[in-house]
């Protein structure tokens, strides 16, 4: 069982989506990208709600969309979980889950029994008779998932499945969804703008920006070797394009850094914001890199504060609230940043 797709949709002069996507049975692929990157369009194309303007979609060797062939949504072996679930308001949770089975010709009794089984699996037996508006956000999400999975689709499409949940519910639903996807034999394609969702739920990440794939790989690969500023910001890394000459790299936007491992030619340089140390004067320690910076902005992230520092090079640094108070940090404060050479990762561009 494989998915093999060249998703190409052109809407007008400004929007063009080109997404090659392939996956094998049991895999979950996450399409990650900022708003407007074309993620939802790609999902709608896979579902058959949006015809391709070029390219093709092939599932198990059967062409779903391509030159001279188009299988409408209702006849594709797919199911979709929508961002705001789109549960049918006039049907109970059980009837919602049974809908897909009934639509595909399963008799009423069998459909209701299988729907009840799935509601039981997601722990909502007690809520079976409730209408969607009587369900909490987390419950509605689970009903939506059950409604999609009960039809045993070969391709499961998830559009921002956790985006509508509040932070605390999100955590538990994410863990649950992870189990469901791990047990699921078909192919799952997940669209999200949340890197954590993508990394927890997916085996492979495809990063989409402006309708094009900018990076693809396992969660660890993408996290450690981001290829664009968007990806770097997502995973919380400093990233620079640079030219390397031995252990000295000259950054494209100004400034130079000393690294531990030698390289040559065009490279990407990355390091974590936690690797950056801050000092009120020029540091005398063992760090090989030190340069003057000015605080551009402060942002609270959980128990740490992320600073945007203007260089060159510009850099993100994570410090504790205690340090913020001690160094009396505020926008405009002049500081020195230092960075150990061993904290810097260099990889070919």
């Amino acid at each position: 069982m494989t998915l093999d797709a060249e998703i190409s949709v052109r809407r007008d002069a400004r929007f063009a989506l080109d997404l090659p996507l392939s996956a094998a049975a049991g895999q979950t692929v996450a399409v990650l990208g900022p708003n407007g990157a074309g993620k939802t369009t790609a999902l709608r194309a896979l579902a058959g709600l949006q015809p391709l303007t070029a390219g093709r979609i092939e599932l198990d060797g059967r062409v779903l969309d391509g030159p001279g062939a188009f299988v409408p949504a209702a006849r594709r072996p797919i199911a979709m979980v929508f961002q705001d679930y789109l549960l049918f308001g006039h049907l109970s949770a059980l009837e919602n889950v049974a809908f897909g089975l009934r639509a595909r010709g399963v008799d009423r009794r069998t459909a209701r029994r299988r729907a009840a089984d799935w509601l039981d699996r997601v722990g909502l037996t007690a809520e079976a008779a409730r209408r969607p508006r009587e369900l909490s956000g987390g419950q509605a999400q689970r009903v939506a998932l059950a409604r999609a999975m009960v039809t045993e689709p070969r391709l499961l499409l998830l559009d921002e499945p956790l985006a509508a949940l509040d932070a605390s519910t999100r955590l538990s639903v994410r863990a649950e969804l992870r189990h469901r996807l791990a047990d699921y034999a078909g192919i799952a394609v997940l669209v999200t703008h949340d890197p954590l969702d993508a990394m927890v739920l997916a085996d492979r990440l495809v990063v989409l920006e402006g309708g094009r794939v900018v990076q693809e790989g396992s969660a660890a690969e993408v996290a450690h070797h981001p290829r664009t500023e968007y990806v770097a910001r997502l995973v919380g890394l400093n990233l620079y394009r640079a030219t390397a000459d031995g252990t000295t790299v000259r950054l494209a936007d100004g400034g130079r850094l000393v690294t531990a491992s030698p390289a040559a030619g065009e490279v990407l340089v990355a390091f974590a914001p936690t690797a950056v140390s801050l000092h009120t004067g020029r540091p005398h320690g063992s760090a090989r890199n030190a340069w003057p910076v000015r605080v551009a902005s402060l942002e609270q992230h959980g128990s740490t504060t992320r600073l945007q520092l203007a260089g060159p090079p510009d850099v993100l640094a994570d410090v504790t609230p205690a340090a913020v108070a001690e160094l009396r940090l505020s926008p405009g404060t002049e500081l020195w940043a230092s960075l150990k050479a061993t904290e810097i990762r260099t990889y070919p561009a």
């Binding site: 579902a47 949504a73 929508f82 006039h90």
Partner: protein, 305 residues
Amino acid sequence: MRRPRRPHSAPAAGTDPAAHDAGAGPAVRRDAGPAGADAAVRRRVAERGPLVLVLPAAVGLCFLVLPLVGLLARTPWGRLPSQLAEPAVAEALRLSLVCATAATALCLLTGVPLAWLLARTDFRGRRLVRAAVTVPLVLPPVVGGVALLLVFGRRGLVGQYLDAWFGLSLPFTTTGVVLAEAFVAMPFLVIAVEGALRGADRRYEDAAATLGASRWLTFRRVTLPMIGPGVAAGTVLCWARALGEFGATITFAGNFPGETRTMPLAVYLALETDPQAATVLSVLLLAVSVLVLVSLRERWIGGGT
């Protein structure tokens, strides 16, 4: 719906105008006290509006309400039960209800699919179709009756074949009444249902499609329940219009007691022979109208206030 704030009432509170711009809620709370009461009075005065508008508005209202008041004032309430029991009245009432209901059923059967076509599909000449659907709404009903006669009459465009092939004759029959009423009332239903369809979130239909539902199943099980209130409102409106139909009915179906003489026709006729009976019948129709209005209050006159 929140009332627009009057700009000249803001300084009355004695706080800086910027605070007022932040929203009506907090500003009012801070105004509590003598200054706040003063502001409230000023606001009320300001909202009373200029006399140039209020006076004609009052005249207009009287013009609309007075005739109804007059009707109720002159109704011989004592004669009401005996009048209603009269065979001619009972017959006209029964005929009216049957015909209006049949006409509404006809409108539902054809009008809902028509509304769906207008709202959900894209074809050449759709605007023309919508215009055609709306014509009976603005057409004088008598003209509608004449047009029906020219098409379904014994020598009409379609009527001659109906007569020759099936021996069917529609004009001056109860079926003719139903047709005339449906012709005039259908636009009300189509427009209401089309509006409901346009307002309904189409992504629910997408969701049904991804679950394997055909378009027909999606229409029955997802779309129709979603637009239920709109269809109900359109149905009531359509039925009320059919019940009150006069011009097209008398032109196309004539005025035969027990066969085509509906309530409005009976009222008109009674006015010449027995004005009191006409009053009683009118009150009856008024009661039905009020009933319709009550059933529609949420959608048409509530207006969100």
